[in-house]
Symmetry: C2
Subunit: 208 residues, 2 copies
DNA sequence: GGACCCTGACTGAACGACCAGTCAACTCTC
DNA sequence: GAGAGTTGACTGGTCGTTCAGTCAGGGTCC
């Protein structure tokens, strides 16, 4: 009835291709990702991929951050709805452990992070993007801490919330790498327990 | 005079090539490393590379861990000579911060770690190797802690040394990633200060 | 309403660059 | 002269990118 903005926007090819690309990257790795693979996942010819993206390289760069961006937005929205700071912190930890929650593709998210890091080593634009994504995530941990101090759930005599969030986030990165790489002693559950324990000691979140 | 094991072992081509390869990988990245590049660094023809290694893939796999292995051995030897546990711990931190000590190629070491991680995602053999290298390193942090408790430099009421070493190591990994990727706020010096501070709080190492 | 044209999404064959791996020949040393 | 070490031209395959062409839908004009 109302004027359609476009004549047939039934599917957003741009986004479809980005999703397919990040899928292929997680499956095969950035280096082994071919345009042909992405085209196949889309059920489309290779030519079309280059019709929507100026080059394979640009597409891959966008695809790398695309999934992480989606994940962050989804998570931030979810956290905001939880009334308890302890629950928020616990959820942050849960969502940081690769493979802990089967319903989320957390392993995939983390695999993409690894590829982002490697690319950021030599691509300044990707380095900027990575810093932004990382900062945003650490920021939301810090906000959980501040929120908990506000509600009285966390003690206020502990160090600066931003510093704590950064240290805590860094530790979770390091642990996540081990979990993701199938370390025999660092299982998802063990990482979760460690994070919960460190949260109690550093932030003062008593997980009763 | 004494019997030479080989007729002209003046140079160990095998090791020469490994060194050249890890050099090229740190410079160009694993994915962009070509046999030609490695040959050029060695001042040798491409054919020779394949004369010493059965395939490019095997060579790269060996090269990735080669440099890290050398680094570990050198460091372990150095630490053993230091009488003070505090000094040992401080040195461990120093050596974990990418780009802090210009005389060491610490940035290169870390860049190789990133590549190891990515490869370990899909190569079980590399995953095993990575776990071994990582375990060894964390183990030597734990030994420093235990040594400090023995000498009375560190308090003994703190948590288990192995657990501490693992948490501390994980945090350093996470921070090192940021430093390595040229984060604008996480500078080498800042990482060093943070690690020193956390060591004081977690391990009880008073850095007077 | 039907003939016509236009647009743009989409195809897939073809091109060309790149590169791992091969191999026949050459060299140097014992 | 035998054999290990070394060369570098060559091959075969892979893959990003290009491009000429197809096709479906919609708008326009009579």
């Amino acid at each position: 009835m109302t004027t359609k903005t476009r004549q047939k926007p039934q599917r957003d090819r741009h986004q479809e291709i980005l999703e397919a690309a990040s899928r292929v990257i997680t499956d095969r790795g950035l280096a082994e990702t071919r345009i042909q693979d992405i085209a196949e996942v889309c059920g489309v010819s290779p030519g079309l991929i280059l019709y929507y993206f100026e080059s394979k390289d640009r597409l891959l760069a966008e695809a790398l951050t695309f999934a992480n961006d989606q994940f962050y937005l989804r998570t931030a929205r979810e956290l905001r709805k939880m009334p308890s700071a302890k629950d928020r912190l616990s959820r942050v930890i849960e969502l940081s452990v690769p493979g802990l929650l089967p319903e989320y593709d957390l392993l995939d998210e983390w695999a993409l992070w690894l590829e982002i890091w490697v690319r950021a080593l030599r691509d300044p634009e990707m380095a900027k993007e990575r810093e932004m994504l990382d900062r945003r995530w650490v920021q939301s941990i810090a906000e959980v801490i501040r929120y908990g101090r506000q509600t009285g759930e966390f003690p206020t005599d502990a160090p600066d919330a931003d510093d704590l969030a950064m240290q805590f986030g860094a530790m979770m990165d390091g642990l996540a790498i081990q979990v993701m790489l199938n370390d025999t002693v660092m299982t998802p559950q063990r990482m979760f327990d460690i994070c919960t324990d460190v949260a109690r000691r550093l932030i003062g979140s008593t997980s009763d």
